[in-house]
Symmetry: C2
Subunit: 778 residues, 2 copies
């Protein structure tokens, strides 16, 4: 494996992720982990030159489109600006050919720039030394910049081609038509395209310049869906050539165009975008980079987690997670969620899952509450689709789509995917039909956000409504079982997706129960304390109806209880399933290797789990279970869990740490860190694992940092791995910034905010004035 982590010294120590040998089997992985963006744009780090197997993705958040009636809405691949052809005496740069003396590509997490250095000899023996740079601006949504400095060791004819390539597809599905191409002033290239179904316009611009004294001949070229300028010149031996390309991408879904009529889009958009492009071009690479660097500096000052340890990889991997967490979200646009692969690949089509609320949102809730609020506002807007889905299924209230795209798309989960190895047909995907827990998960996240931030205004405007509306769904979803004289939730999929059509999934039942109870308390609270808001919500939702529906079932909802052996049954069926020897799959590098031996129908019959399910419940509602129950269930289920979802390991690591299983916790943590960064060459081909990166923050800060909400109050109770000497991390609680420095012996908390805070440090309740700090032994 060609990724190194111990690069960088001085100020850049543990800030650089470096690929230090070229291996085209790692193209996909490196495109994803070196991806750049700003939450608006996401650009895979495909190399400038072309290789078979590359996936050249550029995504613009929220520009969803449905390629055909038979497919579901997905995030389409905008035109590519990253490609560039470089020829030396007619020989195209291609590292597989000729001779490669030196290669490295580095992602600098500190400023978001990638730098690739090569020294390569053409098949004709001319040596090319080149440094390629690029970044996506963190302070201007629309800007991408590329640069290359290069020289040849003997005089040679150089040809360069750079432009806009609209021939890209989503694995063969083309989302755009109506391509307009034009070159202004023989330099500024413009390509506009419109999504086929949703009518979103995207404007791409790019312009290039040479920074060296060379006599360049240039020629615009328009091929089908491609527009570029072909540059030719004679380079002297040893002469340094500087070339840069500044690009911009704008879309008609940008906030500024809200309310505009579709027919007004192209003209306005192209005008604005071209003006922006000219401005960015005038600034040039260096100036744009300094602006973006400043934005990164601000981010890291707020967000960096510093670990004092000899395990340098841990520090780097945590920063890698923080880097991607920052570029996966459009911090100020509540119309878009976070994709399961963020904006770094076509996997999961840009859709948002429960992953956001359960694994990614905690990072933002606990450190960047404004962003967390934006994401929850997305879910508020998403109620439209949730009502749609509830109606379709004959339920009341808000039944959130399992997969969500644009705010009003409703359910967008595909209905089939992959081959059923037994029948030879496409495998059916049931998650969109019967994986229902996401609705409670969102309510849980709203409540957690409210408790951590104290953002009453959010709750009044959006949060209460989400909790009430989702609770109403559950009250309509539960079914009365005459035989057992109780309400049950039958025929679902829990978080463990290796078990379909299960009854009374403990996770689902407990979360639904929590959701309904929380709604009752909200109704009580509002009727007492906020009569005006109560009235408004009552008019909208008929609160008495919700109250009655819930009261009729909530206390009779079946909550699975531990068996005599202390095992909480994951489902009615789970404990009766057949055992299976799992070593083969547990040791497999690739996930879901079990699906090569069993189809879903078969898998359903074995006691094997894809990911944390009951363990997830023990983490989320931890106050409901005693430590012994947690321990027994953790060990019981971990043993049967293949961690075939990237959501699994981090959660297990937290629980293991809570239970004092420190070595196991650290082992699981280390494995979680390598989900994207590890040696397996294909883990990230379809994009990085955004929930796993959120999970890294969770297991670092909520796990080892011991941060949790307990009885509505922040609790900090660090328990660091043996190999770590100290960890410093930021938190944001009740609108105040906290700086926590945790060691093995003691923990220091500084209140950087402007109000007095009350929280638990270990088991002790602390009252900490603004600007003060407290240190406490562990």
């Amino acid at each position: 494996m060609a990724i190194r982590y111990d690069t960088g010294t001085g100020a850049l120590k543990n800030w650089l992720v470096t690929e230090d040998a070229f291996d085209d089997r790692c193209l996909g992985k490196c495109e994803a982990i070196f991806a750049q963006g700003n939450g608006y744009l996401g650009v895979r780090n495909a190399l400038e030159e072309t290789y078979a197997g590359e996936v050249r993705n550029t995504f613009v958040t929220g520009t969803f489109n449905k390629a055909s009636e038979e497919e579901v809405t997905e995030l389409p691949n905008a035109a590519d600006l990253t490609g560039m052809t470089l020829k030396v005496n007619g020989r195209e740069l291609n590292l597989i050919k000729g001779e490669l003396f030196n290669y490295s590509r580095t992602l600098n997490l500190k400023n978001g720039e990638t730098v690739r250095e090569i020294c390569w000899k053409t098949p004709d023996g001319i040596q090319l030394t080149a440094v390629f740079r690029r970044f996506v601006s963190l302070c201007d949504d629309h800007v991408l910049a590329f640069g290359v400095d290069f020289s040849v060791d003997q005089e040679a004819l150089i040809e360069l081609e750079a432009g806009v390539d609209g021939s890209v597809t989503n694995s063969g599905a083309q989302h755009f038509d109506s391509l307009q191409a034009r070159v202004y002033d023989a330099n500024m290239m413009q390509m506009a395209s419109r999504t086929t179904q949703s009518g979103v316009w995207i404007a791409h611009h790019a312009a290039c310049r040479f920074g060296s004294d060379v006599e360049v001949k240039q020629m615009p070229v328009m091929e089908r869906r491609r527009l570029y300028i072909h540059y030719t010149f004679q380079a002297a031996a040893g002469q340094n050539i500087h070339f840069e390309k500044i690009g911009t991408i704008h879309s008609s879904r940008d906030r500024v165009y809200e309310g505009l009529k579709p027919e007004e889009f192209p003209k306005r958009l192209l005008q604005d975008a071209r003006a922006d492009a000219e401005k960015a071009y005038a600034k040039g690479y260096e100036c744009l980079k300094q602006e973006s660097e400043k934005a990164w500096k601000d981010y890291w000052e707020q967000s960096d987690i510093v670990i004092d340890t000899d395990a340098a990889f841990d520090q780097l991997a945590v920063r890698f997670a923080l880097y991607h967490l920052n570029i996966m979200v459009k911090h100020d646009d509540n119309r878009v969620g976070i994709g399961a692969k963020a904006l770094t690949g076509e996997g999961y089509k840009g859709h948002s899952f429960w992953d956001t609320e359960m694994f990614i949102l905690p990072y933002f809730t606990f450190t960047m509450p404004k962003t967390a609020r934006t994401l929850l506002e997305y879910r508020y807007k998403n109620l439209y689709g949730a009502h749609l889905k509830a109606k379709q299924y004959g339920y009341e209230g808000a039944m959130y789509p399992w997969e969500s795209a644009w705010v009003d798309d409703g359910e967008v989960t595909p209905l089939s995917m992959g081959a059923d190895i037994v029948t030879g047909e496409m495998s059916k995907i049931l998650t969109g039909l019967i994986e229902h827990h996401v609705t409670a998960d969102i309510a849980y996240a709203v409540d957690q956000y409210a408790k951590v931030t104290g953002d009453t205004e959010f709750m009044e405007a959006y949060g209460y409504e989400i909790i009430l509306d989702t609770a109403l769904f559950w009250a309509s979803r539960v079914e009365y079982c005459e035989e057992n004289e109780r309400y049950e939730i039958r025929d679902v999929i829990g978080p463990d997706e290796y078990k379909e059509h299960v009854d009374n999934n403990a996770y689902t039942n407990y979360l639904a129960h929590w959701n309904m109870q929380r709604a009752l308390s909200v109704i009580k609270e509002l009727s007492k304390e906020k009569p005006e808001l109560y009235a408004a919500l009552d008019e909208k939702l008929t609160l008495i109806h919700i109250k009655q529906k819930i009261e009729a079932c909530v206390d009779k909802l079946y909550l699975p209880q531990p068996t005599a052996e202390g095992i909480l049954p994951q489902t009615d069926q789970y404990l009766q399933l057949k055992p299976l020897e799992l070593a083969k799959y547990k040791n497999s590098q690739a996930v879901m290797s079990i699906s090569k031996d069993f189809n879903m129908e078969q898998l359903n019959q074995y006691m094997v789990s894809k990911q944390a399910d009951t363990v997830m419940l023990l983490f989320l509602l931890d106050q409901l279970f005693d430590e012994e129950t947690k321990r027994r269930n953790f060990l019981f289920y971990e043993d049967k869990t293949l961690h075939d979802s990237s959501l699994s390991k981090a959660t297990h690591a937290i629980l293991a740490n809570d239970l004092g299983l420190s070595d196991m916790a650290y082992q699981l943590y280390e494995k979680a860190l390598t989900i994207d960064l590890g040696a397996y060459m294909h883990s990230s081909d379809e994009g990085i694992h955004s929930a796993s990166l959120g999970g890294i923050w969770e297991s670092t800060v909520m796990g080892f940092g011991g941060v949790r909400m307990a009885d509505g109050m922040l609790r900090i109770a660090p328990k660091l791995p043996d190999g770590w000497r100290q960890m410093t991390f930021p938190l944001c609680y009740q609108g105040c910034r906290l700086k926590v420095t945790a060691g093995h012996e003691s923990v220091l908390v500084e209140n950087l905010g402007s109000i007095e805070l009350k929280f638990m440090l270990g088991n002790e309740i602390i009252t900490l004035p603004a600007g003060a700090n407290v240190q406490k032994g562990i």
Copy 2:
């Protein structure tokens, strides 16, 4: 350049086109020239393994679709069956990596099979020796077959992936949705897709088998738009592994489904296609190959041209042309034409131009009249679109589209393409608007077909109507010029497309005049000799109206006459244009290099021609011009012609030969032979040049063989190049097969037919009884 032509000995001498070194810069060229097909299917010879820059095209004739409102109808790229992944101990076959000891790929023109032999060492040092074979059946439209025999020099884990890849696009435009994928009996892969706009269903099937005793583990895989089976097994050192894949492709536009309702398509099609696929699979590679070989044998017995010469390349290049001429046409389907790149590339979108009638049809008219008739019937059906276009332009009669696709599509010429190097906008394409001569060209071809074949039945059913209908167009198209007191044809493009908006293009005016005159003679003839047909056509077309319209203008239509210097002005403007130094462009390897220096507006001002224009006229209506006029004009225009169209050189070669300019004729001929087969690496990237291949037949048989229709009678007057000792070629005249053996001293003609024939041999009229032969000195 890596193409060799002197391969093959014995029975295969001058039958093999061989690429004897691997050079990935030649991927496109070799994909095209090694393309295989049967007129129904056309499959580029993309290699089994994947390379950047490859274009993996499979076309099914007539399955046109419009990708979006803004694009024109084109022939879509069906799913790919040619790809195959082969891994040795995890290392994927890729000739650029590892070490390549031996490489050759041979197209056997005799049986249509390609054979590729490689000896390659993986980067880990395991040596793989492999022979890949494939063909498209000539006797079963639907069948493609692939085989590989290979061995490794040490025990190794082999992985093979083979299936159906529906992620291909036409340069980014996706024409298919509704992809259904399924594997039957764990072996037969099925993928069905439907074009997005035209609703054409295509069914792809593929199934594989091993012919060796290996224990194979297999697993079906369905990815987005891709379906394949993954095979794994352990190969012993030196063990020979045989693997083959049999594929079929069917479409709902197949004749058998005519009249079926669209909703009945998928079921019927999939049923039939799967049954066919199972049958083909049961036969296996060898048996299918023998069947196809038999069909090729029949073709060559009928069609081969044998040249006795030391210039082996000439012989091979002529066979190469005959090979492609045979696979570019669906001999028995009058609903489809021939694309400008046949079925070998995306260039010109599968559209038919005047290329068919003027450059390709003569081959069929003179040797395979049934096929020629099928192609002309296509034009008869195409009248629908011709009427449509005439109405749009305010003309009467049949105005044939410049570019045609499906019979009822009408004009499908795109309106813009490529960059205007001056304005930076897309260049406008005017041919669809003002290049009108195609209408006369088609009438001319109908008349030539009738004269050569004596197919009265065709003329009565279709031919007369085309001639009358097209003549009516011309009578409505000409404009009366008060100033010159004559009819003119203004604002057109002639065959020379470097001159737009010209007036009185000699080619167009003469051909229009011929077309109208021929219509008058048809009316006269029919009224006298075929009153019933006259009545029927009169009812349909109102013949008196046509007659009056034509008579009002035909004699006053301006036919440009030679200047004092004997130069026939190509257009009113041409002789006043500015001279331009052309050496730079004449010596350029790439065509249209002049467009890098001038945009069309500028080109219009210079005395430079793209291709034969007046020279083409001198060839087609040769009896109108004396030899001196021909000579002067040939030399005058050839000097100004860049031959930037592949239609140009062959015509010039014929005329040069007619004029006794033997060396020049042979030089032009040799250049014509290399348009596809030559050293330039990119000439055929977008597909072979079908008209150029027809032109090769024309310059061989009509040029050197001296075959022409003169005064309605066949004339044979060979004049071979110095380097040729003898040429034997077949003809079909008045339904009789002729075998012509031409030398420098004498010519032998054998009448293989069943009726007595009258024709000219040199200047002598010969009457040759059935079964007899005649030899005559030259």
